[in-house]
């Protein structure tokens, strides 16, 4: 993907650009809001990573100006301001997602992927399928190899989210924000417990596991690899 990083801190920007290039993206970098806006309006980017506090023109103003030109490019806002209403303000200004500093790079990559795909596949499918796992969104029924699996509502929502993002990394915070309708601090690793319960139902032997744990990143539901 062709990405634009707008970040004024040289260390963070260097690290971020390097990590994104390692993830095989093409990255441009701007150090202030005005340059960022100039680049963003001149090039066709797949996504923009935008810091909120920038010299010359702050992130939200830059975003508003960009949206005013009619651009629909997905934007991920980075900010040290983590409160719920700051997040809402960021999303209202036209951001597609909001990540609070400090963040794990794996979290940022997963979210970038999620927002770029959001742009590509707006159509909601009624039937999700990964390998022999099937989820019918109309009937709320989950089947594996034709066998119906009974899931609790919460487990169903987690599985649905994973299947909608099949093949991509889903972080714990992404799950928290999307499956549970509350903004809260999860205290302990309850998410992991939820996932292991889900696994016990969906991935139980002799089925081939479909839900993978990615250390330090999150989870991924995907077709089993040929080698696996």
């Amino acid at each position: 993907m062709h990405l634009l990083v707008v970040e004024d801190d040289a260390d963070i920007a260097g690290f971020l650009c390097k990590a994104l290039r390692e993830a095989s993206h093409v990255v441009d970098h701007a150090t202030d809001g005005r340059d960022g806006l100039f680049l963003a309006t001149g090039e066709a980017y797949d996504a923009i990573v935008l810091d909120r506090l920038l010299p010359k023109m702050d992130g939200l103003s830059m975003l508003a100006a960009l949206r005013a030109t009619g651009s629909r490019v997905p934007v991920l806002i980075l900010s040290a301001l983590g409160h719920v209403d700051e997040r809402i303000r960021g999303l209202r200004a036209g951001g597609d997602d909001y990540l609070v500093k400090p963040y794990a790079i794996s979290e940022l990559l997963a979210r970038l992927e999620a927002i770029t795909r959001r742009g590509l596949m707006p159509v909601v499918e009624n039937r999700l399928r990964v390998a022999d796992l099937e989820l019918d969104r109309m009937a709320h029924v989950v089947k594996r190899g034709g066998e119906v699996i009974a899931l609790k509502p919460q487990e169903y929502r987690v599985l649905e989210f994973l299947m909608r993002h099949a093949g991509h990394v889903v972080t714990r915070t992404m799950l928290l924000e999307n499956v549970w309708d509350y903004h809260f601090d999860p205290q302990t690793n309850v998410i992991d417990v939820h996932l292991s319960r889900l696994r016990a139902k969906v991935d139980k032997a002799p089925w081939v596991p479909l839900i993978y744990t990615l250390r330090g990143a999150g989870y991924c539901l995907r077709e089993p690899q040929a080698s696996a």
Binding site: P102, P153, F184, Q187, V190, V193
Partner: protein
């Protein structure tokens, strides 16, 4: 020039006294004047009547003799005028050579200038026409009136002077004595600001306004004092709790500089340190969250919440944790009215309480969650059968970063209950920890008194 309050009050007071005194004097003078003038007029009328009676009885001669006699009796201080004239205007008797210039008709009193004290006194006169066409005029001066006036003026001046002096002097000292507590309050406030935090305003048992004010101010000082102490305590703990992991990190980094980890050791070494940093960041995040809740600004986001639904969601969320430990969650949730509150924060409160209960309750035990409506308000109860919290620690578990020694081995920051307390305070809810025999029972009560959205108005207590 700036005057002190006591001087200003004393001045205003004596000004008022002087003004009312002067008003009283004016009234007295006016009344005395009227009385004296009436008195003189009546005397003149009487004299005229006597003359007429004499004229009727003894004729012109008798009247002339009487006037002569009267004129001799005039004392040197007094001025009295008589004029008895014939119809042709010839003076028959009297000491007034010419008829005075007056438009006054017979019977009505009029004034003519005094000849003895010109300008100072006047002669109040009256005349009458006789049956033969002659005229008779009698006039008495008002020297008594002038006398009384000057007496009143002298007395008034002395009296006013004395009153002013008294009201200024006594008033000033009285007011100063009355305002003395203000000075005491000022002095105490100054001492408090200079750091003597145990300073309090002295309170007399008289119970007057100043004592009540002093008592209120003293309790305000108590509150400030305890807030300073708690902030200081919290800052100390925070500093301590954040310093320890940072110190560990520093030591490890320094050691790694001297003796770098081998390539096999590197991965776990970095992961361990990252976890440490994440812990510090999480502590920061939690502390910031608590203070943002404590600031009560989020009350603006209050909306009607279905707490019964929140309880069910929270239980669903925590349930896998309990299942892992073989615990059972028993939920009793009555159908109750909506609560005006912050949905996300109330959910957080529930999560924290349930998480604690599941964490500290033994395996295969039961955790009870009860949500109901009582006469005072909504009541939420979370009870476990764990180790419980010793009585002496119950008030302290809400402090930031406070952890029981027994719980130091379990993961956690010691901020969960602080956040619970902050959220409860924000909803004006009380929170108490009771003994569940065995275990802990936490009861949160959201009072109806402050939660009156259903009346279509927010109680003014909400608007700060």
């Amino acid at each position: 020039m700036k005057l002190t309050t006591s001087a200003r009050l004393a001045l205003v007071n004596s000004g008022l006294v002087a003004a009312s005194f002067a008003g009283l004097l004016l009234l007295v003078t006016w009344l005395a004047d009227r009385f004296m003038v009436n008195h003189v007029q009546e005397s003149v009328q009487a004299e005229l009547n006597i003359m007429l009676a004499e004229l009727r009885g003894d004729g012109q001669r008798g009247a002339v003799a009487l006037i002569e006699q009267r004129m001799q009796a005039i004392t040197p201080n007094h001025d009295r005028v008589y004029r008895f004239e014939s119809s042709s205007g010839q003076l028959l008797a009297g000491n007034l050579d010419r008829w005075p210039q007056t438009t006054a008709g017979p019977g009505g009193p009029f004034k003519i200038p005094s000849r003895k004290y010109p300008g100072e006194t006047e002669v109040i006169s009256q005349w009458t026409r006789l049956s033969d066409g002659g005229r008779l005029l009698v006039g008495f001066d008002d020297i008594e009136l002038a006398q009384v006036r000057s007496d009143i003026r002298d007395a008034a001046l002395w009296g006013l002077g004395a009153t002013l002096l008294l009201s200024l002097g006594v008033g000033f000292s009285l007011i100063r004595a009355a305002l003395k507590p203000v000075e005491a309050i000022r002095a105490a406030a100054l001492r408090f600001m200079e750091g003597e935090r145990d300073t309090r305003i002295p309170v007399q048992p008289s119970g007057d306004e100043f004592d009540r004010l002093s008592e209120t101010l003293n309790s305000m000082l108590d509150r400030i004092d305890s807030l300073i102490a708690s902030v200081k305590g919290a800052t100390d703990t925070v500093a301590h709790d954040l310093r320890s992991p940072l110190t560990r990190l520093r030591v490890r980094l320094e050691a790694a500089l001297r003796d770098p980890p081998t390539s096999q050791e590197l991965q776990p070494w970095i992961e361990k340190n990252l976890a440490e940093v994440d812990q510090v960041l999480a502590t920061f995040q939690a502390l910031l969250r608590i203070s943002s809740v404590e600031s009560s600004l989020l009350r603006q986001e209050f909306a009607p919440c279905d707490v019964g639904q929140l309880v069910r969601d929270a239980v669903d969320y925590i349930e896998p944790l309990a299942e892992e430990k073989g615990q059972r969650l028993e939920v009793t949730s009555a159908d109750v009215p909506m609560v005006l509150g912050h949905k996300h924060l109330l959910f957080q409160l529930l999560i924290n309480l349930l998480d604690n209960a599941v964490k500290y309750a033994p395996s295969e035990s039961m955790v009870c969650i009860r949500f109901s409506m009582t006469s005072v308000g909504w009541q939420l109860e979370v009870a476990d059968s764990g180790a419980g919290i010793p009585t002496e620690h119950r008030s302290r578990v809400f402090e930031r970063l406070y952890r029981l020694d027994a719980s130091r081995q379990t993961p956690g920051l010691g901020l969960g209950l602080s956040l619970v307390k902050a959220i409860a305070d924000m909803h004006r809810a009380s929170i108490v920890i009771l003994d569940n025999k065995p275990g802990t029972r936490v009861v949160v009560t959201i009072p109806k008194r402050f939660n009156e959205f259903d009346r279509g108005e927010l109680s003014s207590a909400w608007i700060q």
